[in-house]
């Protein structure tokens, strides 16, 4: 709820429009998706095309974000990077949510030794900085975008397992679940049809926030030379490429990093807005 609005305006506007966070976040999301889908049509087709005559050009009307050491347009590469970030999220997030939901639901619903075991495993994962583990896994599996995605999915699922388990545990005791069981519903069906649909709100909010953090983690791994490898126009990899020239040609590392920042903040705002819209009681 927005403070200071009158009853009349509350009635007039639908709920989702009354959350400024949600509106700002949605606009951001549309721009992000628009750039990922249509962006490549707006910028030069081949963002890896070398053009040595145009190297190290400062930002200008022709090259808004300037050019890099081999004359590639940085704006074009930042736009192309949107698609890579989206791709990583679209692969990593479903895997993490899938594994987490499966283990969390089983643990929460059936309880017992299996549940304790799953929770001890998630304890170990959540007990120390996830990024460091992702880094180690990425280094072991081998540098590259695939390695980064495996590493991120590997450290990301326990958060969802915890979340889902808590929700399932809470819902298990409710009357509608007892009713379904009294009617002879099978466990799998009760879980799938009655319990899991109720857990969607917190999961969707967490997923929205995680989009930004997954993009940030991918970029950080790439910055360390583990994730995407040059010449892939991944934001973190681009920041790393420009690092050696940072003092003389500031724009090379600056703009891709700015894109990462805006993404994380954007999805954070969207997540907060979604929380307000979907669940006004739990507003932080």
């Amino acid at each position: 709820m927005v403070r200071g609005t009158t009853v009349a305006t509350r009635r007039r506007w639908p709920r989702w429009l009354r959350s400024p966070d949600f509106v700002v976040g949605s606009v951001f999301l549309m721009i992000f998706l628009g750039l990922a889908v249509f962006g490549p049509m707006l910028v030069p087709a081949d963002t890896n095309q070398l053009n040595v005559m145009q190297r190290f050009k400062a930002p200008s009307a022709e090259h808004w974000f300037g050019t890099d050491a081999v004359g590639r347009d940085i704006l074009g590469r930042v736009v192309a990077g949107t698609r890579i970030s989206l791709l990583v999220v679209c692969i990593v997030l479903p895997i993490a949510v899938g594994i987490g939901t499966l283990l969390g639901a089983i643990g929460g619903y059936f309880g017992g030794t299996l549940d304790s075991f799953i929770m001890r495993v998630t304890d170990v994962f959540l007990a120390f900085p996830g990024f460091i583990l992702a880094m180690a896994v990425n280094a072991v599996v081998g540098p590259g975008l695939t390695g980064a995605m495996i590493a991120i999915a590997f450290v990301w699922w326990p958060g969802y397992a915890r979340l889902i388990r808590g929700e399932v545990l809470m819902l298990k005791g409710t009357t509608f679940v007892e009713g379904a069981r009294a009617l002879g519903g099978k466990d799998a069906r009760i879980l799938w049809r009655h319990i899991l649909p109720q857990t969607i709100t917190p999961v969707v909010v967490k997923m929205t926030l995680d989009v930004g953090y997954i993009i940030l983690t991918t970029a950080t791994l790439s910055f360390l030379g583990l994730g995407a490898q040059p010449p892939t126009p991944e934001w973190g990899a681009m920041v790393n490429e420009g690092r050696a020239f940072i003092i003389d040609y500031w724009w090379w590392s600056t703009f891709p990093g700015l894109a990462i920042t805006i993404c994380v903040i954007g999805f954070n705002i969207l997540g907060d807005g979604l929380r307000e819209v979907l669940d006004p009681h739990k507003r932080l």
């Binding site: 170990v124 120390f128 460091i132 583990l133 896994v137 599996v141 950080t220 954070n268």
Partner: protein
Amino acid sequence: MLRYILGRAIGLVLVILGTVTVLFLVQEMIPGDPIRAFAGERVRAEQVEILRREFGLDKPLYVRYGTYLWNLARGDLGLSLTSQRRVQEDMRAYLPATLELAVVSIVIIAALGIPLGVLAAQHSGRALDQVTRLLAFVGAGLPVFWLGLMLMILFYGKLGWLPGGGRIAFGLPRLDGPTGSYLLDSLIAGNFQAFGSTVAHLVLPVVTLALGRLTVVTRLLRSTVLEILHEDYIRTARSKGVSERKIGFKHALRNAATPAITILGLQFGWILQGTILVEVVFSFPGIGYYAYNAMINHDLPVILAFTLVIAITFVVMNFLVDTLYAVVNPKLRTW
């Protein structure tokens, strides 16, 4: 309270054991043959087998797991493939720099985050509060490595106020003090030139590390203090005519001490994982920089040892926070 701490200690051992196991299994998952990779393509198959026996890699999984645990228990982290030295020796040389960076950062976060949190709570809903909310959003989104580069462009490249990297100016004599911390060692030696140089070299890395977490700490502390400000005893204090400043910093903050310890303790993990990025950006010779070079050279024993050191430091830190929490919190004393 003793039972509480004992329970925590058992949890600590279990988590460390779990971490070690996860790392061991990650090592085992390596696609390809590590011995072949180590020996190179030209070495004959029989020789590879000899090497395999030498490294004990021909033994079954549980035997290798046992050996791995035994070596770790003795403090042996393995052999670095690039430096050909024991990893623990390298770690010992690089760790003080990282700890200095982390400790100074956490002190700065506490020194600024606590008063800011109290002030934001007292000005809840007003301009100052809104500014901290906005900063928290930005702080959570800023990639640490990028923030470091931006600060470097500004304060080293454009303004030239601060050094752009390293731990101390070139040309100054090596500091071989007892603590390994350049700040303390230079003071003990009475070498103020070295002390000044160390401080100058710490400013940008510390600001980079602390900024994002500072905003988070401020927000977390704000909500804690805000809750306390609604308590009856605060209203009593106010009706007695106690000044707002005294209410905030004495009455409210004292009651927010336990959550504040937890909030600050949890930041240590974030700081630790941030050190590797900051050390890379500023060529700061700590264990993160060491691990980064290992990653470039695919020196797996070093990378895994680094992960383990960070994980154990983090878990032990959490244990200390929990223990401190029990000592400070009177509710837990009756246990």
